[in-house]
Symmetry: C2
Subunit: 217 residues, 2 copies
């Protein structure tokens, strides 16, 4: 039987990228359906009627939504290149950190930005500890948590280019810095990054929109 | 080896109840550590330094946080009475719905309340469909999704007692109504509900606090 694997995504969604990377790592052939966030397709409404968001993975006619749920599904359905570790405690640790988010630092006013950065740093310190003695969060190979935190690599690259601050500096987070580079440069990962210039343009527009809104109140 | 299993919870946390039910269903002996939300213990800060929230499960000295992560850990560590189904797609469906939340309907102003109720109804309709042909979301037995949605049973019981509206009526959601009753009355579940009167008192106080805040702006 030829399998039908379709991924509904946008060109820039970091959540959708998680699924792209997982499918690439496992070597699964799939078809991409590019969605426009400003005009979502009827199919997206049909396949994710609760949140109407990408990513949606369609596997032999059955839709799965929510990027972390999709990662687990992909890992359970295709066994090659396991994403989650075997040990239950290591799995729990990976799942815990996968939900971790850093508040956007680039869209805040200066004072808010500093508070957001302080909180981010405190949490990043704990992630730094998770990397001790390992190349990737998954060990020698890219795994579930690397993929889940991939947006962080993305955000940091862009933030540092368009903002004045450096969220992750080498002196304070040497292991995270090394991870950012190893992960971003890994062939499977690198090949799937959204076009850099287009991303920068998008983030600058978002920041301007935010500033315009803040100053109009 | 005697296992150390400790659960840090509060008397009313619906997220902690998920873990209580899971441990009870699997017949695991454990010790309860009751936390006071207004004065969290040093141990809670130590075991969940990122969010400082209950529930935390401590298993042989190692802490696990986030209720849904704990449920997966419990299910992978103790195999008796499996919580998640075996089939990857059924697992994905259970995980998707486990994240589902209904916005609190009891704390809103009338107009907001109606919008929240309309959205809740739309989503509850989809949950209703999930129950077709089944006694529990897990099939014949209480499973992961039943436990994850247990707060719903809790919220609905309390909301209906202290508010005028009925979120889940029998005519519109007959299967959900039957599930609410089956689930709430199952011995393992019933034995662990927080004291009803104390819960009602708490929700009335919360509602008054919210009203006081709304009218002081």
């Amino acid at each position: 039987m030829v399998e039908e694997v379709k991924l509904f995504r946008t060109w820039s969604s970091p959540y959708a990228l998680r699924v792209v990377w997982a499918l690439q790592l496992k070597g699964i052939q799939y078809e991409t359906v590019l969605e426009d966030v400003s005009e979502k397709s009827d199919l997206l409404h049909r396949y994710n009627p609760v949140y109407k968001k990408v990513p949606v993975l369609l596997h032999n006619g059955r839709p799965i939504s929510e990027s972390l749920v999709i990662l687990e599904y992909v890992d359970e359905t295709w066994k090659q290149h396991p994403l989650l570790p075997q040990d239950p405690y290591a799995r729990a640790t990976a799942r815990f950190w996968a939900k971790f988010v850093v508040r956007d630092c680039y869209t805040h006013e200066e004072e808010e930005q500093e508070a957001a950065l302080a909180e981010a740093s405190e949490h990043l310190q704990k992630l730094e500890e998770e990397l001790r003695g390992k190349k990737f969060f998954g060990g020698d190979n890219i795994g579930y948590l690397d993929i889940a935190l991939g947006w962080l690599a993305n955000l940091i690259r862009v933030s540092e280019e368009i903002c004045s601050h450096k969220v992750v500096n080498y002196e304070r987070f040497p292991l995270l810095c090394a991870w950012l580079k190893e992960f971003s440069d890994a062939p499977v990962i690198k090949d799937c990054w959204p076009p850099h210039d287009k991303l920068i343009t998008k983030f600058i527009a978002l920041r301007q929109l935010h500033h315009a809104r803040s100053s109009s109140t």
